[in-house]
């Protein structure tokens, strides 16, 4: 593609490029062939860039969260008793029953604790939901720039929460590894080789490192160099950074850190 249009450079590549970009090429050999071709063909590379730009532009469209009134209305449709969660409902029943008054007093501490958990849970859910509306376009705007961006889309130390967050945004559910020697900081969406990836940020002491997770299934993802399945991380080094990469259960993992972050790689070697 040489001008301002979306016309593919090579005919054979044209039929595969969009599926490649969308991560929908089922034949690993075809994916590898397209990937190789993209290294050598500026025209098709420009097509891929155009697809990425268009995708980024679309994802950067402003998204506003659902109004509170609509949220409450939907909540009341989904949840029994006007939107109360089941545990809340039980709490109300207990408080309204005279015979349970004494027991309520005895159990007040426990109930208050439970109520606080419910309140905090709902607040967290609402905050997460509201954040999604404004965060997604901003995230996606940075998709092609993530390697130079040090922010996190979802800052959390909770691996389950981050997994859930990724699951809502990706067409795969990336596992978020937890290592005793590292602290989870957060995650964001990313693109590697035209395929969506989960980018997970960690801290090990004062060292920051990043883990990219992609779902490849049986596909050989040549841009990441497929490695021996699940046995040991292979380590490579270039341009001042080190990367350890491995695959497991259809996912490819690439851990990237500054080349001086040897303790990270040492820990990874001990506890992969």
């Amino acid at each position: 593609m040489s001008g301002a249009s979306l016309q593919h450079g090579c005919e054979w590549c044209a039929s595969l490029l969009e599926a490649f970009f969308d991560g929908e090429l089922s034949d690993p050999a075809e994916a590898a062939r397209v990937n190789r071709h993209l290294q050598d063909c500026p025209s098709c590379r420009a097509d891929l860039d155009a697809l990425e730009s268009l995708s980024r532009g679309l994802r950067a469209l402003p998204v506003s969260a659902a109004p509170d009134a609509l949220r409450e209305s939907v909540r009341s449709r989904l949840l029994p008793s006007g939107g109360r969660f089941p545990r809340q409902e039980a709490f109300v029943r207990v408080m309204n029953h005279p015979a349970l008054a004494l027991a309520t007093a005895v159990l007040a501490g426990l109930i208050i604790g439970t109520s606080w958990q419910l309140y905090a849970g709902r607040r967290a859910e609402e905050a997460l939901s509201a954040a999604r509306g404004s965060a997604v376009p901003a995230l996606d705007e940075h998709i092609s720039l993530v390697l130079s961006d040090d922010g996190s889309a979802l800052q959390t130390s909770n691996a389950a929460e981050l997994e859930d967050w990724f699951r809502q945004r990706l067409d795969f559910a990336p596992p978020v590894p937890a290592w005793p020697w590292a602290e989870l900081v957060g995650g964001r969406l990313s693109l590697i080789g035209g395929k969506r990836a989960a980018r997970i940020e960690y801290l090990a002491g004062e060292r920051q490192f990043t883990l990219f997770v992609q779902f490849v299934g049986a596909e050989v993802h040549t841009s990441l160099r497929k490695c021996d399945s699940g046995r040991r991380a292979l380590i490579t080094q270039q341009r001042g950074y080190k990367a350890a990469y491995w695959s497991r259960d259809g996912f490819t993992y690439v851990l990237v850190a500054h080349q001086t972050a040897d303790p990270v790689f040492e820990n990874l070697r001990k506890q992969p």
Partner: protein, 195 residues
């Protein structure tokens, strides 16, 4: 799938579902009505959902069907937004100089969200829906096929056409050319028979 889990996933999909509805509907009120109705109807399928991952596509399928019903009822053409509407919100398109040799990726770097929105709204419904499901919601080809009840090959060709059309319209908008009519020949959206 547990009821609480279903409700949690369904509630978490609210913003995305409303965003999708906004891309289909003519106005905010219509979009919110579609969403309300989708949630009212999804309850009937709650017991059939086995895995959390099924709840989200189900909501989109239901909303798609509601939209199709509405589309058939109204028999309306694609929503058109005049380039003139962008005046005051964005630099006048005629102030831009679009070099036809400029790569699209370079052009799009300067594209404003108003212009992107304008091009998207001008697409035929079938193309717009498919593009939104892929690019904004991240559904796979297979999931899009199930939501819209079309074969994967059709998903693929629609996406390709949608992207080409988007590029063509964005270039027109950036160059200050009159808004192009929606590309003819795309069948009106169909309803899922299974819902």
């Amino acid at each position: 799938m547990k009821r609480a889990e279903f409700e949690h996933v369904a509630l978490q999909s609210l913003d995305a579902l409303l965003g999708y509805a906004r891309h289909l509907a003519r106005n905010e009120e219509e979009a919110q009505d579609l969403v309300q109705e989708a949630y009212a109807r999804v309850l009937a399928y709650r017991d059939k959902v086995q895995h959390p991952g099924e709840a989200r596509p189900l909501l989109f399928r239901i909303l798609h069907n509601l939209f199709v019903d509405q589309y058939r009822h109204n028999r309306r053409g694609p929503v058109m937004i005049s380039v003139d509407d962008l005046q005051g919100r964005a630099p006048h398109p005629s102030e831009r100089i679009v070099d036809p040799s400029t790569p699209l990726s370079e052009l799009l770097k300067n594209c404003l969200s108003d212009e992107m929105q304008c091009a998207l709204r001008s697409l035929d419904e079938g193309l717009r829906e498919t593009l939104c499901l892929r690019e904004l919601e991240g559904f796979s080809y297979e999931e899009i096929g199930e939501i819209l009840e079309i074969p994967i090959g059709t998903v693929r060709s629609r996406l390709s056409r949608a992207r080409r059309e988007m590029a063509r319209r964005l270039v027109s908008i950036l160059a200050g050319a009159p808004m192009l009519q929606a590309e003819p020949g795309v069948a009106p959206p169909r309803k899922n028979r299974s819902l």
